[in-house]
């Protein structure tokens, strides 16, 4: 299987934003955009749903906190109760600090791992294909030529209004 892609590059994030908007209005299928920094509002222009990463963080944090609180009570009051300085065995105020730390640890580490897994990023991974300047000063929009009515020259004339820098066709094997 392979698909034909159309790679257009721009020199300014506002041009990319406007071009993305226009491409969507004309019904083209956007594969992705590649930019050197996060462009504010681009996800809306591409019509992306907002991410639910925060929910994962919340659940991770709560489970870390609950587990650690239970563990502290279990070690201090059940497994081997030791009277230290007359403090009660189930000293909940004294268990708060460690519970909090472990909550943050679970939530932070878990969210990062989840992010890497979701976006399929790992050490040593080769980027699928590198667009020249996408990590420097070029703003790239990639369209999928997914139907017969896709005419490259139409796209070119549309994007030229937004100061198109370069247009290139590629074939991607999937």
């Amino acid at each position: 299987m392979s698909r034909r892609l159309l790679v257009s590059s721009f020199a300014h994030e506002n041009d990319l934003l406007a071009a993305t908007q226009a491409a969507r209005e004309h019904g083209y299928t956007i594969l992705d955009a590649y930019t050197p920094f996060a462009v504010h509002g681009l996800d809306k222009a591409m019509g992306m749903r907002s991410t639910r990463l925060a929910w994962a963080t919340l659940i991770l944090g709560i489970s870390g906190a609950v587990a650690k609180l239970w563990f502290q009570i279990w070690t201090s009051a059940t497994s081997w109760p030791v009277n230290v300085g007359g403090k009660p065995l189930k000293s909940v105020p004294a268990f708060v600090p460690v519970t909090f730390e472990v909550m943050v640890l679970f939530a932070g580490v878990g969210t990062v791992l989840l992010f890497l897994a979701m976006r399929k990023l790992w050490p040593g991974k080769k980027p699928a294909f590198i667009y020249d300047g996408a990590t420097n000063d070029r703003f790239i929009l990639v369209l999928i030529q997914d139907n017969a009515s896709f005419v490259v020259e139409e796209v070119r004339s549309l994007f030229e209004r937004f100061h198109l820098v370069d247009l290139e066709e590629r074939i991607e094997r999937v």
Partner: protein, 472 residues
């Protein structure tokens, strides 16, 4: 669309930089050979580090007796250094997380190196409690793991165990935050470098980052979430450090203001260290258009604010010692100011209360030389603050019969020095091999405060006009 900037806003990046210029300015120095000044600094730092390592080796082989501790004073340089270094770290998290949440966009030029500073400072800090245990090869006993001694668990009601959790969690999250923030920049280096080895290395560590906007969207969220987690975390860490002292019943240690006071003091000292480092870095690495006088000024203002909080805490402690009507409380503070270690108290007051007041003058804030000197004084003052707190309360507590003094040995001093060697060695390596400025983030603010909109101050007092627009 587009942002509106008031006429009062100053640009964050000077010079008419293009995106490519920014990449070149930050990555260029990494691709050239190291400068002479870098080598000199590096060799000196490594030398000092070796001195420290030898002292530590001697201490580990002989025992903590080589420090100046005695029966009464069981905490001295080690814990002072520990609190000092942890405090230094806090400014990095403040810049990267809290200023991010407050949308203070000037942070973008300094956050990367401040975060790196955090990690290195926490590493320096972590060494001291481990050495202080006396048998550092058993340091893993601090962890609650199933063992054949019962299992005997750590005492979760002890602030020292809280500390262990706080520091390790803080180190982990800071490192994650720093690294996640650096991934896009590592990819930038990967894509521009000519050397095959660097391409391989940075290719490995950049996780296959390609700048996809679908990734960027999650990445932005991740960054926000990490900032949201790091903010309470940084507060909790120094709070827990303060509880090492405040949960006791020792006058001068047991005081309820200690948590926020320690947090403010930590940020205060950390900002002084950020200033010290940044003033060198901008000069040596030619980054004056990125770390501008405006940035220096902002950091000076943070120092005034946090220094003010520290001053307020000093005064509150003094006042409440009187107000308590408690003989021991009162004595602890009179002893602090006028006792045998009184001079350290006045060094602390001079450096932490008097010195920052100079930053009220704009002329001083915009003079890098003076700011540099003052930032070092504040570092000194904050080291003494921890020394004062520990020493004055320990040497003279409830029982006059057990009063004692403390004199540091040469090993105490070389170990402290060695920790600076470690810190600067790590920082210099970082400056040499990794992007010191968050390239992607700076590109996002390059137009900030420039190209001002046509908005003028609005026309005053014309009855009716607005009400119509509002109804419509």
């Amino acid at each position: 669309m587009g942002e509106v900037f008031s006429v009062l806003r100053q640009p964050l990046v000077l010079g008419n930089k293009t995106y490519a210029d920014i990449t070149d300015d930050v990555c260029g120095p990494l691709e050239k050979g190291a400068s002479l000044s870098w080598w000199i600094a590096f060799i000196v730092s490594v030398g000092v580090l070796i001195l420290g390592a030898l002292s530590v080796a001697y201490q580990v082989m002989t025992g903590v007796g080589v420090w100046g501790l005695n029966n009464t004073v069981g905490w001295a340089f080690d814990i002072t250094n520990f609190v000092f270094w942890i405090g230094i770290g806090h400014a990095g998290t403040l810049i990267s997380a809290i200023l991010f949440l407050f949308r203070q966009r000037w942070r973008t030029s300094v956050n990367r190196s401040a975060e790196a500073m955090t990690i290195f400072a926490v590493i320096c800090a972590g060494i001291f409690p481990i050495l202080h245990t006396g048998r550092p090869w058993f340091a893993y006993w601090l962890l609650p793991y199933p063992n054949f001694r019962g299992p005997l668990w750590v005492n979760f009601r002890s602030p020292l165990v809280w500390d262990m959790f706080a520091i390790s969690c803080y180190l982990t999250i800071s490192a994650l935050f720093w690294y996640v923030g650096m991934i896009p920049d590592l990819a930038t280096i990967r894509d521009r470098t000519k050397s095959a080895l660097r391409k391989k290395l940075f290719g490995f560590f950049s996780f296959g980052w390609d700048g996809s906007n679908r990734t960027w969207q999650r990445y932005e969220k991740l960054y926000l979430l990490l900032a949201g987690l790091a903010t309470p975390l940084v507060v909790s860490v120094h709070t827990i450090v303060s509880w090492d002292f405040a949960t006791s019943v020792i006058p001068g240690w047991h005081t309820t203001i200690l948590p926020p006071y320690f947090v403010a003091g930590a940020v205060f000292s950390g900002f002084a260290m950020v200033l010290t480092l940044m003033l060198i870095v901008r000069k040596v690495m030619n980054l004056e258009e990125y770390i501008t006088l405006h940035h220096i000024e902002q950091m000076c203002k943070v120092i005034i604010a946090t220094g003010g909080m520290v001053g307020l805490a000093y005064m509150t402690e003094l006042f409440v010692a009187y107000y308590s009507g408690n003989e021991y409380e009162r004595f602890a503070f009179i002893n602090r100011a006028l006792g045998p270690y009184g001079w350290t108290y006045w060094v602390m007051v001079g450096c932490n209360i008097m010195v920052p007041q100079l930053f009220w003058w704009k002329k001083i804030r915009r003079n890098p030389g003076i700011v540099f000197a003052l930032s070092i004084l504040i570092n000194v003052g904050m080291w003494f603050e921890r020394f004062v707190i520990i020493m004055t309360s320990l040497t003279r507590d409830y029982l006059p019969a057990s009063w004692a003094g403390f004199t540091p040995t040469i090993i105490d001093l070389t170990t402290l020095l060695g920790s600076f060697g470690l810190f600067f060695t790590l920082f210099l390596l970082f400056a040499r091999f990794l992007p010191m400025i968050a390239i992607g983030e700076v590109k996002g603010v390059v137009r900030y405060g420039k190209g001002r909109s046509e908005l003028k101050p609005l026309e005053p007092r014309k009855e009716g006009a607005l009400e119509q627009t509002l109804v419509g």
